[in-house]
Subunit: 365 residues, 4 copies
């Protein structure tokens, strides 16, 4: 292992409460790293930085990006500024982890992908769902042919919707970018790039109470998105701020020889169930251990230490962005739209070391 | 109760093995009825009729239809002849129960609906899913506003596909007509008529072994069907001969104040789960009692005895037919298609008598 | 196959409603058999016999037993008369199927077991739980060492209690004989004979409404029964008319290398779950097909046709009787009691033919 | 709130890895507290203390107990020394939290209970299972009569057994003290003190590999424990180092009007299921939030700040100890033994504030 990875965190809102403790835990577990500067446009967040023992604070993100000791920049700001700051950081030669979406504009996102190819720095884009042990175990089963050729799939993720930020109900917000992004990332990761989309979308709840004020919803809050993976394999993603509660497998993939279902949501998976026709029973691989959805930061830090590329490619994130953008367009037009981008899903051939489940007595919380 | 309802059964294949014993059970339970003549183009089926104690047999369906003592005709023949025989029976003034679909041609089906309006006889079209206690309990919860306004829905029903009849893989066959028909009937019954459909469809498994012979599949075997119910409420039905095994709620409906899920398939429901935001917990109404999917015959016999209309209308069946036909067309065209027909879903306001579940010790098998 | 097995049924109460249709179904499925005489002390039951097409009826059970054409006697009378009629039928050289318990007196039961050894006729004693496909699959897993050596076990079966017959709350009745008998039969069948018992028992609900009349309960209605299987393997059976509802595995067996659980009750099993340490996942063998708890009649008829012994031995039924009698005694005394009897559990090495589950599309109801 | 609660932690082994971070998290959440000294007989643990930022370390526990600034002592040493150190700390007037068991000798434990009554310091004994939100919600349902009078109960907690410390297999160790203690605490908390016990116990696996060495097991590793709660209400606790895997409700209580089951184990509950006959359905209160089994430390710190008694009484812990000691004696003797001690279970009438579950989008991990 090389020298300490020094990080600058831009955006000290609620998402940073997940990333910063994760970074500290990573350091304790032996991934040499530390946050050396925090940044937020709200000066009051300096206190939060201090509370975490971050030695420096600024309200100017450029100061973080141009800090000579900063190796990697973690961008957790409002969605609208993701693209701009990511671009600046890549141009400065820094490694970047950016929360979803990398940009709200497809063209800008394409430029970021191109920039990442030539930059010294890695670009890691959330969501990081392909890094969970559950996802990777499912990937291995599919790659091994355990369900045969995938033919049909479903994803589901929704809830009642946030009441703390009007942005979620304005153009650029909405449940597809906030929630559907997970399922689209998972399904394209496991099955492969989509060739075509088709959707029904709309504003099902035209008025909301947000921050105790009534507001008019101005972006679609209800989605049924069809994905054509080629070879007559079709998937559906159901998402919306229109779902009060569900109790279903977050991801289901139906193949020519079996079925694999992810238990719980892909951002918080609890294992999976596998049916193989040749078995004639369900394998129930429930996993009580918890995985952190901020896990991309671990991968970035380890990639820097190990001199390798991060697991997730910007191309995957871009592909997901294109699908999401076209889902809304398809909903408006009432017709199928082609997906022009593609990517190569990450492989997870090697099985990590793990304790036999019956000896894993007290799962970590 | 009036006089015995006398039935003629046309088609003594495998489906009759479900209907005829059901008719006999109905008689034992006090619904005065009997099968007085059986019919099959295959003379060898005379023996099956004899085994069931049916006093007459013919290979000519017209003989059944024109039999002066026959009150109601039960049509269980191959799909291709459903429309023709139904028409003949309605013109003869008989009550008719016809297995799905009432016709393979939308125009012919429309004519049957019109004919049923002026005929002395009732027309009952399978599937009969709205008659199950589970369906009706769900209907009452939705009607009572327990989940608020329905906003999103999913249905799932598929399997590996039959290997005993090439018809399933020829034009006119396929999983939408064979399997999807149940979910479409249930969702339109519970939510209301659909205004628009959009689908991805295709032939995922181009060759099959049927009756131990390889054959080329010539109709779509894989469907993702989107339904627009108006008011920005969207549903999806996933069906196909492309699903080896599943373990999901057959029907899920997400409303503005809660969620209701049917446990197991709608043709064999095992109760339901209800979430109401105001409860804050799932109500689990698992029902171990079994319902017979041939239950339309009970309703028809009782309707005749009671001088009322059957519960299910031909208009509902026609609406479902139009949706299914347009799903394939939408799949071909890659665009949304309007649904022109409509219907009024049956109401189930009255709750039947039932034993308190904890006193229902040994459920009937 | 030999000649038709001719049966006489003694006792035409509610239990006969399960056995007689089963016998008729068996005949249709190719097990040549028929009921030629019915008997009930209540002359009014003649009508029920007629409704079933049974050609003769009597109020005198001796007439059935001594009927020259009767091969096998099915005893479904009140518990108090089981022993006496069974004895009479065995002495007449008939095959006998007797509902539980074979006798209410341990000494009389021992005599029946001895008599069965020398009689020409087979003695089949309910319950028949070892005949279910689920039980037999579990037996095979245990015999194959899939869970290692059994070390611990639980059984659970109870409900709110009957309100239609005071007998259940009088000495000789009670939930151990009515309900616990299933679990004790299953556990001793799967693990082997018990060496010792220990129990807490009591009358938890001293007054009941039965047939709309208040009555005083005079036998224990609440049981926790411990079973010592030797080799430091211990089991518990929880039963009572003190359980309003449960949602647990009916039978759980914990071994040195894994666990096997029966899904649902042992008289109505829905498959099983298997954990093997070497797998590291649960195998979920849910079985949607239903098994009839009257299945001993099938085995008896087939045993007669095939010239073999029935699967279940009277020795097993006697062993279970001894355990149940001593459970109440242990409850009174507050100390462990030895079990003196033993038996050899039936083996189920051969796997029956079955359809691959994913091709078993529409399970029989 | 008063001044900072200053803690000394004695024993810096694996259990301290749960308590110390919990104490730090409590401080961040506003419960003013800090660990000012750590202690372990192993000098090498000084480094662990330093890593946690604990300013002082000693190998002499008396130094902690007599430290003038220490308000409360947290005893996480080997079981054998619990009683002695607890006694010393109480005599020094300190508050004490001691891991289970408070003592390995019943007489010594009785003395500790007496001492705690007269001491200035509180005595909090693990396990802390009555503090979980799930436990308390169940308590309220039972107190409200939702299941009527409890009549029957089951608890289950076991696993394959530790392989890292021979102590678990020596006299004083064993699964009853290590695992069964949770279920016994929960059941007596929810139902009330036990009057009598009866058990089957034994050494099911006479040899084990511990720390890669074969050893002979010298204490019972397999238990079925019956509990008599009076009023003919009986419970069973199944525990052992003889259970490879289970998938059951950790706690089940059957009452005269309903049933309540704890989902998952009582030390890591995931909510509960409630059946009320008057509902006719299961209420499923699954709770995805995690509770920390070290929660007694929160209660102690808050009790000190608030000048109130801790929730759990030493009398409860003593009652559980007596039951466990007598379970082994009953197992040896084969007879029921009376329980002489009693206690008053804590009440949880007030419902805490909580977010409506459908708005609790991303549960804390």
């Amino acid at each position: 292992m090389g020298k300490t990875v020094r990080l600058g965190v831009i955006g000290l809102g609620s998402v940073s409460e997940k990333y910063v403790p994760h970074i500290r835990a990573l350091n304790l577990e032996g991934n040499d790293c530390e946050v050396i500067i925090g940044c937020d446009v709200r000066p009051g967040k300096a206190e939060r930085a201090r509370g975490w023992g971050i030695p420096a604070f600024t309200t100017d993100h450029s100061e973080v990006i141009n800090h000579p000791d900063v190796d990697a920049v973690v961008i957790l700001t409002d969605m609208q500024s993701h693209g701009r700051i990511t671009r600046e950081a890549l141009l400065a030669g820094k490694h970047v982890l950016v929360e979803k979406p990398m940009s709200m504009d497809l063209n800008d996102a394409a430029e970021l992908v191109a920039l990442a190819k030539v930059s010294k720095g890695h670009l890691v884009c959330a969501p990081h769902v392909t890094l969970s042990p559950t996802y990777q175990a499912m990937w291995r089963h599919i790659a091994a042919g355990d369900i045969g050729r995938p033919l049909s799939a479903r994803g589901m993720y929704g809830w009642a919707g946030p009441d703390w930020d009007p942005f979620f109900y304005e153009p650029g917000g909405g449940p597809m970018y906030d929630l559907g992004v997970y399922n689209v990332t998972t399904l394209t990761g496991l099955i492969g790039p989509a060739k075509r989309v088709m959707a029904m979308t709309g504003i099902a709840i035209p008025e909301r109470i947000v921050n105790n004020q009534k507001m008019t919803v101005r972006t679609d809050d209800n989605f049924q998105l069809l994905l054509d993976f080629g070879n007559q394999c079709f998937g559906v993603v159901t998402t919306g701020f229109t779902i009060q509660r569900y109790d279903v497998a977050g991801i289901e993939i139906y193949g020519s020889d079996g079925t694999i279902n992810m238990l719980s949501d892909d951002w918080d998976p609890h294992g999976y169930k596998l049916w193989r026709n040749k078995d004639g029973f369900w394998q129930d691989h429930t996993d009580r251990n918890r995985w952190r959805w901020t896990d991309g930061i671990r991968d970035l830090i380890q990639a820097i230490h190990e001199g390798r590329k991060p697991v997730n490619s910007p191309e995957h994130a871009y592909h997901v962005l294109e699908i999401m953008a076209k889902s809304m367009e398809s909903g408006r037009l009432g017709q199928a739209l082609p997906i022009l981008s593609t990517f190569t899903p990450p492989r997870f051939d090697a099985v990590g070391q793990r304790v036999a489940p019956h000896l894993d007595h007290a799962p970590e919380i």
